[in-house]
């Protein structure tokens, strides 16, 4: 193993290098890693920020929205002067100011059936921080088909959820459809009035997504596979629910019916 760090990199990553579990070898792994983040919003902001600070060398960001004032309560990659510009551009500026070692690849487009496989295929890990079910199902199915680890998080009101689907081991890892076989019917999707959110919940869950990604890259600890972590901001409590692989799952079960990508309709477009 050989690597070369500049004086600036030695200083920047010294707290990593000192860790016996990371060292120069681990830092090199981080710099060589490619992580794709879906959504540069409440979850993507902290995950992208920490991945960039950690020196993850390539970060792809998918988002087709522009920065709005209503984002700034929690989306810490953006700021007041960026209102009106594409979120991926704003994210790129913030990351480049933080760490020039990171190559940001912006995808200022809606992810759909036609582009999802192409976008995901070159990355090592995918983080889902999207805000709608059609994207979640599409990204999940694509990651499953390509065998990419997917770190999934969701936030609403005072609650956050997190789990990792390790599709490098498709025989043992549950999948997103084991948990949610189909998108919920339109009536069950929270309406615009119900879509309140304490901003910090995104910070906590997004940061945990970054933690999962870093562990996967470094090959240390245990990823949150087969477990759903649920966070309640009001009680400051975490609980873990066991996730089982469903033998009848339409995607990863014994007789799968889903062989190609499915594009669901968005019931209610909630853009914050």
């Amino acid at each position: 193993m050989s690597f070369h760090f500049t004086e600036e990199q030695i200083k920047r990553y010294s707290r990593h290098i000192i860790l016996p579990e990371v060292g120069g070898v681990g830092q090199k792994r981080l710099l060589d890693a490619k992580v794709l983040v879906i959504g540069a919003g409440g979850l993507g902001s902290p995950s992208i920020y920490y991945l960039a600070a950690a020196g993850v060398g390539t970060i792809g960001i998918v988002d087709f929205d522009v920065v709005d004032f209503s984002n700034l309560q929690r989306q810490i990659l953006h700021n007041t002067s960026r209102v009106g510009i594409p979120k991926v551009e704003s994210a790129k500026m913030t990351i480049e100011a933080l760490n020039p070692d990171v190559k940001v690849i912006p995808y200022n487009q809606k992810i759909d059936k036609s582009n999802v496989l192409d976008i995901i295929k070159d990355y090592d890990i995918v983080l889902d921080g999207s805000d709608n079910f059609p994207t979640r199902f599409l990204v999940n199915d694509a990651c499953y088909m390509l065998g990419k680890p997917l770190v999934s998080a969701a936030i609403l009101r005072f609650e956050g959820q997190l789990t990792t689907f390790d599709y490098r081991n498709r025989e043992t890892s549950p999948c997103y459809r084991c948990l949610f076989p189909e998108p919920p019917p339109p009536g069950l999707v929270p309406s615009c009035q119900e879509a309140g959110l304490l901003g910090v919940v995104g910070g906590i869950m997004g940061t945990l997504q970054a933690n999962e990604a870093l562990k996967l890259i470094l090959g240390i600890g245990e990823p949150l596979v087969g477990k759903l972590l649920v966070f309640d901001a009001l009680t400051t409590e975490f609980r873990t629910v066991k996730l089982r692989k469903d033998k009848k799952c339409n995607l990863c079960g014994e007789n799968p019916t889903i062989k190609e990508l499915i594009e669901y309709d968005q019931a209610c477009e909630v853009h914050f």
Partner: protein, 77 residues
């Protein structure tokens, strides 16, 4: 004793004396010996201590001049 690699860390302070020593030792082969030159007194204690915590073998810590020390470390893992 055979020295396989030498690292002059004059002018460096903690924690970078250890960080730079570790980066070199990670790239050496097991059994090889690294000689580190230090002129920052706290590092003379900290570098050997941290190396031992990482599982390396500290062979010697010697004062070799006025405000100048050498630390000899054998790579174990």
């Amino acid at each position: 004793m055979q020295i396989d690699k030498e690292l002059d860390l004059k002018g460096e302070v903690c924690p970078f004396t250890f960080v730079k020593s570790k980066l070199i030792i990670e790239q050496m082969d097991t059994g090889q010996v690294l000689r580190v030159i230090l002129d920052y007194k706290p590092s003379v204690e900290n570098v050997p201590k941290s190396m031992e915590m990482e599982g390396q073998e500290v062979l010697a810590v010697n004062q070799i001049g006025e405000n100048l020390w050498e630390v000899l470390v054998r790579k174990v893992k």
